[in-house]
Amino acid sequence: MSTEPTEVVEAGKHAGEPGATKEVEPLWHSEADELLVPPAAPVRSSESEDFTPGDLSAGLERSRGGFMSRLRGILRSGPSDADWESVEELLISGDVGGVLAIEIVEGARARKDAPSAEAAVRAELAGRLLPGEHGWRPRPAAPGQPAVVLMVGVNGTGKTTTIGKLAHVYRAEGRSVLLAAADTFRAAAIDQLRIWSDRTGCQFVAHAPGADPAAVIYDALDAAIARNVDVVIADTAGRLHTKSNLMDELAKMRRVIERRLPGSAPEVLFVLDATTGQNGLSQAKVFHETIGLTGIVLTKLDSTAKGGIVFAIEDALHIPVRLVGVGEKLGDLLPFDPDAFIDALFE
């Protein structure tokens, strides 16, 4: 733990972008013609309009629309056995899972209180989600201490990108943020996080590639305490939940946080790709057992996927979805809204 950070960057200094700390608007936007000549911070081609939770279902409206509206019609007009089967298939096609879909349909059919079949299905679905928490923010254990967020998940789900987006939110609120590059394994993972750090005007702590990630976290906490930083967000390497040595490594990171900040309750956010199927449950279970998850970030909801595995996860583990990722830009992070999420399943 005595290793000195190989790199500690003060906000704004690294990027040569002194205004970065004040920047609230997305740092770049994109027109199609800019695509061919992106600035140093490259652009994405998709539209850069800001999402609000209400836009989520609109943003997710896809080709299935025809089938869905027919289905909604059916659900309003009193469904037959075959119609219920369509509902089951709709749920399954949204990755809710075979067993849970059957359970939900059976539950909906047994409901006598619901005004319509659709309402019954929605009630069954909603009953499996924890309520959204729009004002959610990570909290420090004691005043004057930094709040700590640890981003975990399997490979490629969007951990690093989510850190960039989350940092952007806190920076916009005027908080100081320090990013800890505790993915020391994947090639160029440190560079990737540094770029997000520069874009959002965060402080940055990293060691050399291959270093002990727990040591990175320890140093990051030291630096954050010394400099009165509000929030520390640690990136971790993607890891499959089946690799016990890598899971042990995560547990160690948590222990380090608890040792350096006794009594702190770090936010451990499990980053889940919405395209994930039934394996998501087994991922969440093992991560939860290993490190104690406090929330879920559901990413890539701007895709055609519905993220229905979340129902099974919340049902089994009672971990709330806190945030959803709806793109690759800084502003593409939204608070989770259960109603909009269920809407999107039906659209």
Binding site: A32, L35, L36, V37, P38, P39, A40, P42, V43, R44, S45, S46, R62, E89, I92, S93, G94, D95, G97, G98, V99, V154, N155, G156, T157, G158, F185, R186, A187, A188, A189, D191, Q192, R194, I195, W196, L240, H241, T242, K243, D273, T275, T276, G277, Q278, N279, G280, S282, Q283, K300, D302, S303, T304, A305, K306, G308, I309, E328
Partner: protein
């Protein structure tokens, strides 16, 4: 986690072997289990529907093979159908043109960059001279990632300054390939969503400008129901030639690959089996079929049990059982046959009515029980193996010493074998004796 399908079907259809034909009731019960197992494995629900229909048709009224239970018979059919679907298309890895171009496409985070590096390593092993081209100008540090990987493999990486268009990057990559006398160009592109029209157009333009000999769609093994739509959309934009199924080293069943192959006819060509650059495997349909069913290698074992099942030896063994002349020597033979076929627990799974014992058996293997038994038998003289009754105290001590075991181990084996003989005597004439010839109990 769900039980393996074989176990579920064993519960549903019972453990009885070879009872005539698979009945309509059996089929109904089995289809529900198969449907749930496939959905659990993330096979697309439409594909599941077709699939279950086909299996139902094939399984109804089919005669059950001698050595199998009804459940195993159904599993066998399911497996054959799965393998057939997974065998879609031409799995050969084609490298035509100079340089040959390999284009990697896929969703964000599916594993393209790592797969590009793995492929380059694979190509070097094949005796080719690849170059990696970082054609993802969007994700922060994507090019750095590829460069780091390339350097670790001693494969050159071409990257363009920020702001270069993807078409220009590819052009530069081709020029670099010529200059460095490279015969294969691997284009690592940015992850993109199928609904992102400008980016789908970008990849279509790239593919149109440079005819790739392989256009590989990189798919995460954990992908759910959307896999089919994703693959269809990519296939519509670029002429995909096959899949790389990544992160198969986790515990996802990988039904996504089955769905894609079933719907698009595209073959899986490679599997990504780890984060290191050597973790790339050639795809085998039968192995993924077993995995989708959650049965490890049991299915392969069903096949292998049928292959290894030597008719003549089986008849001889049945004869011995009938005459009650099954000896320790025969037991040793049987053990060798079993070993040829693979892990003990899985073998037991195949033995009608013993599925539930598989775990215990595996534990006994883990404890080294079987090795001990083998060592003891090997320390016996042929006469002793034929007739354990002659084993007096002195002989037993000698055997214990010779096999490096304890006297009580030898005693226990002799006692157990006596029990086994007695049991077989009771069963001979019955059906079980004839049905177990290839496998010792």
């Amino acid at each position: 986690m769900f039980d393996a399908l074989s176990e579920r079907l064993r519960k549903t259809l019972g453990a009885l072997t070879g009872h005539g034909r698979v009945s309509a009731d059996d089929v109904d019960a089995a289809m529900r289990e198969i449907r749930l197992a496939l959905l659990e494995a993330d096979v697309n629900f439409k594909v599941v529907k077709d699939f279950v229909g086909r299996v139902r048709e094939r399984a109804t009224g089919v005669e059950i093979l001698e050595s199998l239970t009804a459940g195993q018979q159904v599993v066998k059919i399911v497996n054959e159908e799965l393998v057939a679907l997974l065998s879609a298309g031409d799995r050969a890895f084609k490298l035509t043109g100079n340089p040959a171009i390999i284009l990697l496409v896929g969703l964000q985070g599916s594993g393209k960059t790592t797969s590009a590096a793995k492929l380059s390593r694979h190509l070097v092993k094949m005796g080719r001279r690849p170059i990696l081209v970082a054609a993802d100008p969007y994700r922060p540090a994507a090019a750095d990632q590829l460069e780091t990987l390339g350097r670790s493999l001693d494969v050159p990486v071409y990257r363009a300054p920020a702001g270069t268009s993807v078409l220009d990057i590819a052009k530069g990559g081709m020029e670099a390939a010529r200059k460095l006398v490279r015969d294969t160009v691997i284009l690592d592109t940015a992850g993109r969503l199928t609904v992102d029209e400008p980016l789908m157009k970008e990849i279509a333009d790239l593919s149109a400008a440079y005819t790739a000999s392989e256009t590989l769609l990189v798919v995460d093994a954990m992908t759910g129901q959307e896999a089919v739509n994703v693959a269809a959309a990519f296939h519509a934009a670029v002429p995909v030639t096959g899949l790389i199924l990544t992160k198969i080293d986790g515990d996802a069943r990988g039904g996504a690959a089955l769905s894609i192959s079933a719907v698009t006819g595209l073959p899986v060509k490679f599997l990504g089996t780890g984060e290191k650059t050597d973790a790339l495997e050639i795809f085998h349909p039968d192995r993924l079929a077993s995995r989708i069913l959650g049965m490890g290698d049991v299915l392969t074992l069903i096949e292998r049990a049928q292959e290894t099942y030597d008719e003549k030896q089986a008849v001889k063994m049945a004869e011995k059982l009938r005459k009650n002349s099954f000896t320790l020597e025969d037991m040793l033979d049987q053990m060798e046959q079993v070993r040829k076929m693979g892990p003990m627990g899985q073998i037991l799974e195949l033995i009608p009515g013993m599925g539930g014992m598989a775990k215990q058996a595996q534990e006994s293997v883990d404890r080294g029980d079987l090795k001990r038994v083998e060592a003891i038998i090997r320390s016996m003289t042929p006469a002793e193996r034929r007739d354990p009754n002659i084993l007096n105290a002195a002989r037993r001590r000698r055997i214990a010493q010779g096999s490096g075991t304890r006297l009580q181990d030898v005693n226990q084996l002799v006692k157990q074998f006596g029990g086994l003989q007695k049991m077989m005597k009771q069963m001979t004439g019955g059906r079980l004796g004839r049905r177990m010839p290839g496998l010792f109990g």
